[in-house]
């Protein structure tokens, strides 16, 4: 596994210029909502973060009470979330979590996550009134400068950041089409409705309809109304039926799904951006833990940091 070959093509990684100032905020949980399956939504009053975070950026959330707790000598102690006491083990590191919905007027953000480990388990133990320690905004979000109709492609929980993106794009007057894949209805965090008519698929996402986007859902379990199978099946139909090259794609989901989707899009001449996920240490670019392989020019590749060079990358830039 050892790679001793030096590379001379690395971009200087020493200039953090142009990247956002990172704020430290103690937010407060307004509402903690268990959602479908192992999903959970936290509505958090965090006005500083809500004011500045852009779709695709993430918050680095400490899932073990407020940091100031560690140094009670210096700061008035902030109460620890009582739900944490039930946990067998507590997480040490922050967890990178993208924003699901944002209301900057109310100073509110919502996060939607699936319980997959220590961090998300701890976060789901937070209740109304609990303090949440947040660092952010972090990372490079989606490039929203285009004006083409948007094609959002989500796999599973990847729908969470794409929901915030859909809201932003619709607000900018762009048309939004969402293709979402799920294993089964319980593994999908959002409510479906059956009023959709695109791509021969009845099932759409209720929230997307409300916001003014059109959507279609593929399900491996094949629930009535859904497109039976993978989201790539839906994308195949879309690519056949639509002038896809007129669209700009935005992708988020499991790595293998993003790899396949990116390949299909690139072959069809559709430009796109993908939001990647990787285990992180610091979240601000210092520790080099969360890397992915990217192309620099031609066949040359390098490891880029998901936390600062991403998490959003051009789909052609990533070596899938």
């Amino acid at each position: 596994m050892e790679n001793l070959e030096p590379t001379n093509n690395q971009q200087p990684i020493t200039a953090p210029a142009g990247r956002d100032t990172v704020l430290h905020e103690i937010g407060r949980v307004i509402e903690s909502l268990p959602a479908y399956g192992k999903h959970h939504i936290l509505r958090i009053h965090a006005p500083k973060s809500a004011a500045v975070i852009k779709p695709g950026q993430f918050l680095h959330i400490y899932c073990n009470g407020p940091i100031v707790q560690i140094s009670e000598r210096l700061v008035d102690p902030v109460p620890e979330p009582s739900g944490l006491k039930r946990l067998k083990r507590k997480p040490l590191l922050r967890r990178p979590i993208s924003v699901f919905r944002r209301d900057s007027d109310q100073g509110e953000i919502s996060i939607l996550f699936r319980q997959v480990g220590l961090g998300t388990e701890a976060l789901s133990a937070y209740g109304a009134g609990d303090n949440v320690d947040i660092l952010g905004p972090l990372g490079r979000g989606f490039d929203l400068d285009g004006d083409a109709p948007a094609l959002l492609i989500a796999g599973g929980i990847g729908i969470a950041p794409l929901t915030a993106l859909a809201a932003e794009l619709l607000g900018r007057g762009r048309s939004v089409t969402v293709l979402a894949g799920m294993r089964d209805a319980l593994s999908f965090p959002l409510l479906l409705d059956n009023s959709s008519t695109i791509l021969g698929c009845k099932a759409g996402i209720a929230l997307m309809c409300e916001m003014g986007a059109v959507s279609a859902v593929a399900s491996e379990a094949g629930e009535p109304g859904t497109h039976p199978g993978l989201v790539t099946g839906l994308l195949e139909i879309f690519l056949e039926q639509e002038r896809a090259e007129d669209y700009e794609a935005f992708v988020c989901g499991p790595g293998i799904m993003m790899a396949r989707v990116s390949k299909m899009l690139t072959e069809a001449g559709v430009p796109g951006q993908a939001l990647l996920e990787e285990r992180m240490g610091c979240g601000i670019g210092a520790c080099m833990a969360c890397v992915c392989r990217t192309r620099t020019r031609g066949e040359e590749t390098k490891y880029s940091r998901v936390c600062v060079d991403g998490p959003v990358f051009d789909i052609k830039e990533v070596v899938w």
Partner: protein, 322 residues
């Protein structure tokens, strides 16, 4: 801090405003933290920059990091920009840094350490050189040098000659050494001006469902609170060995420090200064918090004892009562 508290001191001739340093690997090249709105670089004693090799290195494939019980296992594989970029792009930006800047160098053969040390010593713009002879994450990334006294002494001796007194040389020791005291002594005899310890502890994490190691490299280095008792013992062992050999060489202790109390434990065990690594991941301000917490501890002790010496951090170094 008022009230006559003294936490500033010297380590191998480097003046530190307090004994708290940020460890190599967690603060990059010292520039990323500057994006933090409430960053206070002046509140720590110094930064130890990312381990740098002769050529840029790509590092290991991901997954590179995983949280384990009470700690973090990592296998970055020394991804770094190489010494030329360090000199041309980084050091100018750190000129006038409000705390000490310590560079960390690594290599996979003796000649590489020497060349990197020579180039850096020739340009300057930093306060000390930490030599990584203990990285567990690259095949020849140093740990092979750091586990045996003779090879450790060979590397440290060669680097010391290359630097020839222009900058203090700090040897970073491995917990994996069979006899860490012997390795430490050998480094001191070879010319090390200080020793830092411990580097991460070799370990592995397994994904039982996939029947595979979690880290792509298989093996990684464990850090965080889980390793603190190991690190404290190592610091104590090396401190006592140096004392017995009448070598007055400072130690820089690290391994799982999260609070000021943790830092004080390392100082009592024999460390003159400490480094904080993993905890900066969740709290980038941890260095400042620990430094301020140390002042509080001194003040508390003074209030109890009424003795002036309890206000001076230097009186705590190695003061453990066995």
């Amino acid at each position: 801090m008022t009230g006559g508290v003294r936490t500033n001191l010297e380590v191998a001739g480097v003046s530190l405003k307090n004994p708290v340093l940020i460890a190599s690997g967690v603060c990059g090249y010292g520039l990323d933290f500057r994006r933090l709105a409430d960053y206070r670089p002046e509140a720590v004693g110094g930064l130890v920059l990312k381990g740098t090799t002769l050529k840029p290195r790509d590092g290991n494939p991901p997954v590179r990091l995983v949280e384990t019980a009470g700690g973090v296992l990592n296998s970055i594989g020394l991804q770094n920009i190489g010494v030329d970029a360090l000199i041309s792009d980084v050091l100018p930006q750190l000129a006038g840094n409000s705390s000490a800047v310590i560079l960390n160098i690594a290599g996979h053969e003796m000649g590489e350490y020497v060349t990197v040390a020579e180039r850096l010593a020739a340009v300057g713009g930093f306060n000390a050189l930490e030599v990584n002879i203990s990285c567990p994450n690259v095949a020849k990334g140093g740990m092979a040098f750091g586990t045996e006294p003779c090879t450790a002494a060979e590397v440290i001796g060669a680097v010391s000659r290359a630097v020839s007194g222009r900058f203090p040389v700090i040897a970073k020791l491995s917990s994996a050494a069979g006899d860490i005291a012997a390795v430490g002594l050998a480094c001191v005899q070879a010319g090390a001006d200080a020793l830092s310890l411990i580097n991460t502890v070799p370990g592995m994490a397994i994904d039982a469902r996939r029947r595979r190691p979690v880290l792509a490299n298989g093996v990684g280095g464990l850090s965080g609170p889980a390793i603190k008792p190991i690190a404290l013992l190592r610091v104590r062992q090396v401190f006592l060995a140096l004392k017995k050999a009448h070598k007055n060489i400072p130690l820089i202790g690290m391994g799982g420090i999260v609070t000021a109390e943790d830092a004080m434990e390392f100082i009592l065990a024999g460390a003159t200064a400490v480094q904080i690594g993993t905890a900066t991941f969740y709290d980038p301000q941890i260095g400042a918090r620990v430094a301020e917490g140390l002042e509080e501890i001194l003040l508390d002790n003074y209030r109890c004892s009424g003795q002036d010496k309890d206000l001076d951090i230097r009186h705590y170094i190695g003061a453990l009562e066995d």
